[in-house]
């Protein structure tokens, strides 16, 4: 079977032409960003630079980084590079603090994102005849929308994300004859176990492919899912701050994810020192947008670990490939594809129990094969009540707030003072217990 390429002219272009295109777009991006966004202009000025100091792609390393904290400090519209009346969509993602990270898109911007998703789906062998079902936790609703738009662009039949219980999703998958499932590795794993539990053979499903985004996945897990469900898996990489779930995408060769280099410039840096690392060496992925008009990002530190290889790919695409690594370069924890900052949990607890300042620890647990967040909150004198009901309501309220703000399953345990003594050193942190179980 010949696999199609959505935009051959772009995806298979000569590397020299691509470098020229990147330079042109990078200079224009920088000129626009410094004209319209004080944050970027100040950043350059603090380094003693002018926007026109960038003479070659290599000069990019002299520009300052942009961090998640910078995005959060600019809440809500501080980093927008066009007037609000030009914005046609506004996205929120969980930030590093209480306030979300807000990004905006012009009509042209959305067109670019749609195309990137279409490139990804076509590379995964999706065709217009496919029935594409999209399942994400509410925390990844932005990606669900983009996958829907991209799949519609290539005229597949799309079942958009709907917040349904797993058995219902499974029923739809079975009855509607879903052939492509777009989701996270966690969700696909859960689905596979649910089928096993009910004794449903994979043959009852019409599923033949799955496009997975949001988490790194071990080769063993991948093979297990592919064999168990008799499907082929393709992965995609995206950021939650900008909606695109397909900044990089896997082709049929399955050796790394092609980065949309006509829209993004990637660097790999030493996570501690911020110094560049050569091709083929693992480090933190840093991304710069080349075409985004409304919400440009200059040297954004993703916190994701990856390596970049520029060796030609047999599929014909000339875009360099990312190989994502497990683990992170920052304090974020990824639960079911949602990137979570510890300050976020602290913010929610502080808000829910005003003034009480209880000690707490957050765990990421795998319970019955399902990843969830479990928060232990110490009941101090301020919180204490001799009515069980009052405490139950408190726990319920914190849990509901966590689930609504983060869009992932959560549990809350109120514990007596002293219970957390073994976790003393890790109060206020997120402890990932998944590796042990």
């Amino acid at each position: 079977m010949t696999v199609e390429i959505w935009n051959r002219e772009a995806e298979c272009q000569d590397r020299d032409d691509l470098a020229q295109l990147q330079l042109e777009r990078l200079q224009a991006t920088l000129n626009r960003a410094c004209k319209s966004v004080p944050f970027y202009l100040q950043g350059l000025q603090e380094c003693g630079l002018r926007p026109s100091a960038l003479r070659s792609l290599e000069d990019l390393v002299s520009l300052p980084f942009t961090t998640r904290e910078d995005l959060n400090r600019s809440y809500p519209y501080g980093l927008f590079a066009v007037p609000l009346r030009d914005i046609v969509r506004i996205h929120s993602a969980t930030g590093t603090g209480l306030r979300p990270t807000v990004s905006g898109y012009t009509g042209n911007d959305l067109g670019i994102w749609k195309e990137m998703v279409a490139r990804c789906l076509i590379a995964a062998g999706v065709v217009p005849e496919d029935i594409v079902q999209i399942c994400f936790d509410p925390g990844l609703a932005n990606w669900a929308r983009d996958f829907k738009d991209g799949a519609e662009t290539l005229e597949a039949s799309v079942i958009p994300m709907t917040p349904l219980e797993l058995p219902k999703q499974l029923m739809i998958m079975n009855d509607y004859k879903t052939s492509v499932l777009v989701t996270t590795p966690s969700y696909l794993g859960q689905l596979s176990r649910e089928m096993a539990r009910r004794g449903l053979p994979h043959k009852t499903l019409a599923l033949r492919r799955s496009v997975l985004a949001g988490e790194a996945m071990s080769q063993a897990t991948r093979s297990h899912l592919e064999e168990g469900l008799q499907i082929k898996i393709y992965t995609a990489y995206g950021l939650s701050e900008v909606p695109g779930p397909a900044i990089a995408y896997e082709c049929q060769e399955g050796h790394g994810l092609h980065l949309n280099e006509d829209h993004f410039l990637a660097e790999i840096v030493d996570p501690a020192a911020g110094t560049p690392r050569p091709l083929g060496k693992e480090g933190e992925l840093v991304l710069t947008t080349l075409t985004a008009k409304a919400y440009p990002l200059i040297r954004f530190r993703t916190g994701d670990l990856a390596l970049l290889t520029a060796e030609p790919c047999p599929c014909g695409r000339t875009f360099a490939r990312l190989e994502m690594a497990a683990g992170r370069a920052d304090q974020l924890v990824v639960i079911r594809g949602v990137r979570l900052h510890p300050d976020l949990i602290e913010g929610i607890i502080t808000r829910m129990v005003k003034g009480a300042q209880p000690a707490y620890v957050a765990f990421v647990k795998r319970v019955e094969e399902l990843d969830l967040l479990e928060v232990w909150v110490e009941v101090n004198e301020v919180l204490f009540s001799d009515e069980i009901k009052v405490l139950e309501i408190l726990a319920h309220r914190i849990r509901r707030e966590l689930e609504q703000s983060l869009g992932i399953p959560a549990r809350v345990r109120l514990v007596e003072p002293g219970t957390m003594s073994e976790h003393r050193g890790r109060l206020g942190r997120i402890i990932d217990e998944r590796r042990n179980g």
Binding site: D17, Q20, L21, L23, E24, R25, Q27, A28, N31, R32, K35, P51, S52, A53, L54, R55, S56, V82, P83, R85, D86, T106, G107, N108, G111, T291, K293
Partner: protein, 247 residues
């Protein structure tokens, strides 16, 4: 075909171009749009060697053009149609066209020159009708045709057009842009500077938007026509007509 990288050009101490990069691929029409003084014409003049550039690189079919004299740039296959139709007014139409092939006369390409003259006459029949007329007496539109015809006589691979629609009546503007598309269909590559941003973007494949010597936006012409900044800044006066889809 043409790659310009981080070009810096000064007029005395005034910076006219500030790190400009752009490219033109074979058989493309690329347009440069922007306000007066944004540096559009300076880019063309830097490519054709009329203005020296201080830093950066201009590559044409892999050859470096920086520091080359204008006649060498013409010899390499780039010909510029200057702004304001600077034809030789006292000379006849035919003499002007023959001057366009000046470099080739020395190479004794008489037969080819004859054929190209026929090609120019086929493109602009009015020039053949008036070949013996003193060109200063031609109308504005005819002078523009003569200026383009003269450039074509050098048989360029890349044609640089500086404000081809300037000062022309609306009907003639349409005709000039139709001719430009026709030339591209014949295999010519075109880099064009235009004040009339809307007509230019409707004709071109891609475009670059310049502001005070810098490129602030680049992309395919259709996207630029849709861009709100472009609409506000350069399609301003005719915005209503534009929005209603009238030309």
């Amino acid at each position: 075909m043409l790659k310009v990288r981080s070009l810096q050009t000064f007029y005395g101490r005034v910076r006219a171009l500030d790190t400009v990069s752009l490219s033109v691929r074979p058989r493309e029409i690329v347009t440069l749009i922007g306000a007066n003084g944004a540096g559009k014409s300076t880019i063309l003049n830097s490519i054709s060697g009329l203005v020296p550039s201080r830093e950066g690189e201009i590559l044409f079919q892999g050859k470096r053009l920086n520091g080359q004299p204008p006649e060498e740039v013409v010899r390499l296959g780039i010909c510029q149609v200057p702004e304001g139709r600077q034809i030789f007014q006292p000379l006849t139409v035919l003499e002007n066209l023959e001057l366009g092939a000046y470099l080739r006369f020395r190479k004794r390409e008489r037969r080819e020159i004859r054929r190209d003259l026929e090609m120019v006459y086929a493109l602009f029949p009015v020039l053949e009708e008036r070949r013996q007329q003193i060109s200063g007496t031609l109308s504005g539109g005819e002078q523009q045709m003569l200026a383009i015809g003269r450039a074509l006589m050098a048989r360029p691979a890349l044609l640089l057009l500086d404000e081809p629609s300037m000062g022309l009546a609306p009907r003639l503007v349409l005709e000039i842009f139709r001719t430009i598309r026709h030339l591209r269909d014949q295999g010519l590559t075109i880099l064009m500077v235009e004040q009339n941003a809307r007509a230019a973007l409707k004709t071109a494949d891609r475009g670059y938007v310049l502001e005070t010597g810098r490129v602030v936006l680049q992309g395919n012409a259709r996207e630029l026509l849709d861009d709100n900044d472009v609409k506000r800044a350069y399609l301003g006066r005719d915005y209503r007509e534009f929005a209603e889809g009238r030309m």
